[in-house]
Chain length 325, copies 2
């Protein structure tokens, strides 16, 4: 689709009021509209907007997501600060042999305090890449385009709201900030540049930045977490995907309902907001999948019955001609 | 669209891998795919999925949103518990005459502690209504269908993850739980039933449940907040929309960038996660609006240049026939 056509599509999509925007119009206003005109006008259907549109609007454009993200950074920083101040150092990295139902944690010894953060949509917002995705109207992930983004996109990112304030505060208090990302190690210079451009550095590959390809485990992050935990006491982790906390989430049952139940396992339910901190991402990742029957439990599948039926018409008599369909 | 056709649309949408799901395929796997076959097969475009799909998948189906919501309830309960335990009662309801840049708060006196919660997509998930919306493939909000939902949907909702545990805990500690919703007062019985069915009650209209139509201010919630603050010391508020915290957000500049800047005003930036608690909602509301040029700042609008250009072909000589387009 050409840029001009894409622009037109979005202009039209915006011209039509979306269900989302008008959801809470006061009933009074709606009632004031022409009450059941005999020949209602049906405006032409607007062209389709992509399925990721509302997620993108929310994550990159909304004040609500900005406040939610700011809230998460603030509670992370408070949580870590309190432990640093009180000297209670407790690692939140799962030790080998853990399960999600019975987790146990690496020991801290006298290692210095650190936090471990995912990069994309946790520490930085990939504004440029998502703008490009939306305008290109991609339906399938383009590995090559993403690779060029990792290399060259540094100046087109922003910190997630509140990230810089939280990291500055924690560094001031002696906490080392370490990034653990699935960006490719061959593009390490781009990842460092993006974090530094967002004001979240220093990020140095192999020291405070760990990437996919650093070890033999590909995109699995547990090995890198163990490498970090061998040098630091990791007081908090943040991510937008469950695998930013443990690879065990990959080996649990992966159906929609099963994944959702996993996070409430008694062993880990209390970590959310107290060691493990989740950032919102309704745009991509494992959280964005499934159809209506996967997402909504059978016993919650309500259908609107519509307005009450008019009294049934009389049975037509022989003298009434049947209407052509 | 018929139910059968809708089901088909989603089945096809699922059959095609979405950009979201495949975003972080390890590079190695991608490389293993057939390297630039001479005659690539382009599968037919899947039919369009609705723009709210990814937001719905995330909010109602993802483990990530469940963890994020659980995290928010947990920090809200911890925050309130700490104030109750220490006797430091500080209201988070803006007093009349406040601005967002210079907020001040209602006084607590010796009023008993309470929290004030929005209902929809804060305390409960409207699973049935969103399932219906998705299957009906609505592009515009249907006020009548929503009205029927308010009246009859009680058994098709669920508490947001972690809500019940947090409210049970706070009630045990003497905190009154009050709901302030823009559901219609005429449907109060339905709102009470929904909250009770979700295990979040008791909710009694006029006592612990305030609705649109309770006063002369329609969907504006500040008046109801003042009514509540006259009887209680409100230690925390939770909502998925900025107006769940103050109507002042409506009178601030309402452009996308301006709204997003508002939440960082120095007077209120520190309330997020410490008195004001935001729940995720990428499905509807004021956060879900705008096109690419509204969402993405001009200086972050990256476009992928594509693969490096081949060396320019030689200027065609007269002997080379021109190709038909």
């Amino acid at each position: 689709m050409s840029r001009a056509l894409t622009a037109l599509v979005f202009a039209l999509a915006l011209a039509a009021p979306s269900a989302a925007l008008t959801k809470k119009i006061p009933a009074a206003k709606v009632k004031a509209a022409a009450p059941s005109a005999p020949n209602p006008y049906f405006p032409p259907e607007p062209p389709p907007a992509p399925p990721q549109l509302h997620g993108i609007q929310y994550l990159y454009g909304s004040a609500e997501a900005a406040a939610l993200t700011r809230q998460t950074w603030r509670i992370l920083a408070d949580f870590v600060d309190e432990q640093v101040a009180s000297g209670t150092h407790r690692s939140v990295v799962l030790a080998p042999g853990s399960t999600l139902a019975e987790p146990h944690f690496t020991s801290c010894g006298d290692r210095p305090p650190a936090i471990v953060l995912d990069v994309d949509e946790t520490s930085i917002l990939n504004l440029g890449a998502e703008y490009d995705d939306l305008l290109a109207n991609r339906r399938v992930f383009d590995e090559d385009a993403w690779n060029r983004w990792e290399r060259d996109g540094a100046l087109y990112v922003a910190p997630t709201p509140g990230a810089k304030e939280a990291l500055d505060r924690l560094r001031d208090h002696g906490v080392t900030v370490i990034f653990n990302s699935n960006r490719a190690a061959v593009n390490a210079a781009g990842a460092e540049a993006a974090l530094n451009a967002a004001g979240l550095g220093p990020a140095r590959h192999g020291e405070t930045l760990f990437l996919s390809g650093d070890d033999a485990n590909g995109s699995m992050k547990d090995g890198r977490r163990q490498t970090i935990a061998a040098k630091y006491c990791v007081l908090a982790m943040a991510g937008d995907q469950l695998v930013d906390f443990s690879d065990l989430f990959k080996t649990e049952p992966n159906g929609i309902a099963a994944r959702r139940a996993t996070v409430a396992y008694s062993g880990i339910a209390d970590l959310w907001g107290a060691g493990w901190f989740v950032m919102p991402n309704p745009v991509y990742g494992s959280g964005v999948q499934g159809g209506p029957d996967d997402i909504f439990p059978k016993d919650k599948q309500w259908r609107d019955p519509g307005p009450p039926q008019m009294p049934a018409p009389q049975t037509p008599t022989e003298t009434q001609p049947k209407k052509a369909k």
